[in-house]
């Protein structure tokens, strides 16, 4: 019994550590005046979420999180920052000001409302996550979930073609 308590305490420490990384990175991503710093905050937050996936025993999703988000999506956003004439002292240098403070109120209220509902209605769940092998995920993709798998590839193709069409638009043709 003491052995299990020890492991459980380690699990809580890992959870707290990853949560801290996630929320600190997210705060940096939201509040930083420089877009590049905000992106670095987002990358930190993505790593924290990957750690949370690991603590949920979803190791394949954690790897895909690092591969897709940190490897692909954040590089795309860095390209967007680079190609959009971002000034060196930060596009958000004026800050969000009073407008941002006013708009934070409904966001804050919504977040508090959902957290309170979560606590009050006591979502019930098992204490120990399930562990499915990656082979089961592959069998799921080729079995019952083939249609979403094919649809997401079509969505990606359409997005890529649309992005190329938009980006190669000639300047004075409209």
């Amino acid at each position: 019994m003491a052995h299990w308590d020890y492991i459980s305490a380690l699990g809580w420490i890992a959870f707290a550590f990853y949560t801290l990384i996630t929320l600190v990175g997210g705060g940096l991503a939201v509040s930083s005046r420089s877009l590049v710093r905000a992106m670095v905050g987002l990358v930190v937050s993505l790593f924290g979420v990957a750690g949370l996936y690991l603590s949920l025993l979803a190791e394949f999703v954690a790897l895909m999180q690092i591969l897709i988000y940190v490897g692909a999506v954040s590089v795309l956003i860095f390209f967007a920052i680079m190609l959009s004439n971002a000034s060196s002292n930060g596009d958000e240098a004026r800050g969000s000001g009073r407008r941002g403070a006013v708009r934070a109120i409904p966001v804050f209220l919504l977040t508090i409302l959902i957290v309170v509902m979560l606590v009050v209605y006591r979502v019930t769940g098992a204490g120990v996550p399930k562990n499915v092998p990656v082979a089961a995920l592959g069998a799921g993709l080729l079995g019952p979930y083939t249609l979403p798998f094919e649809l997401i590839s079509i969505v990606l193709l359409v997005a890529i073609v649309g992005a190329v069409l938009l980006a190669f638009e000639k300047r004075g043709t409209n």
Binding site: S45, L56, S84, D91, A163, R171
Partner: protein, 102 residues
């Protein structure tokens, strides 16, 4: 209190952070960063709900992968939109394009 509540709370906090970035940022790229945070919260919520309840865990993990694919497609499109907006207006300010031509 069981672990699911804590994981869902972290997901909700990510949603709130992303939502705040979406409404308070001035540039399109800042808003995109907010959307990515919200999508991460969604993925975390899906995986936590599937791993910690009797639901099929394969369904949850593949759902999170689907969300990641959608996020990649969305980031690609927004990169193109940012390119077009910054070509026409000189910067990627969200207040730049405010008129419709039809």
């Amino acid at each position: 209190m069981n672990p699911l509540v804590y994981y869902q709370t972290v997901a909700v906090l990510l949603l709130g952070l992303g939502f705040y970035a979406l409404v308070s940022r001035r540039t399109l790229i800042g808003m995109l960063i907010g959307v990515e945070l919200m999508l991460n919260g969604a993925g975390l919520s899906i995986v936590a709900a599937a791993q910690l309840t009797p639901t099929d865990a394969v369904l949850g993990q593949l759902g999170a992968l689907l969300v990641m694919g959608l996020a990649a497609a969305e980031a690609t499109l927004i990169l193109a939109i940012v390119l077009v907006v910054s070509k026409r207006f000189g910067n990627a300010d969200a207040d730049g394009p405010r008129g419709l031509k039809g």
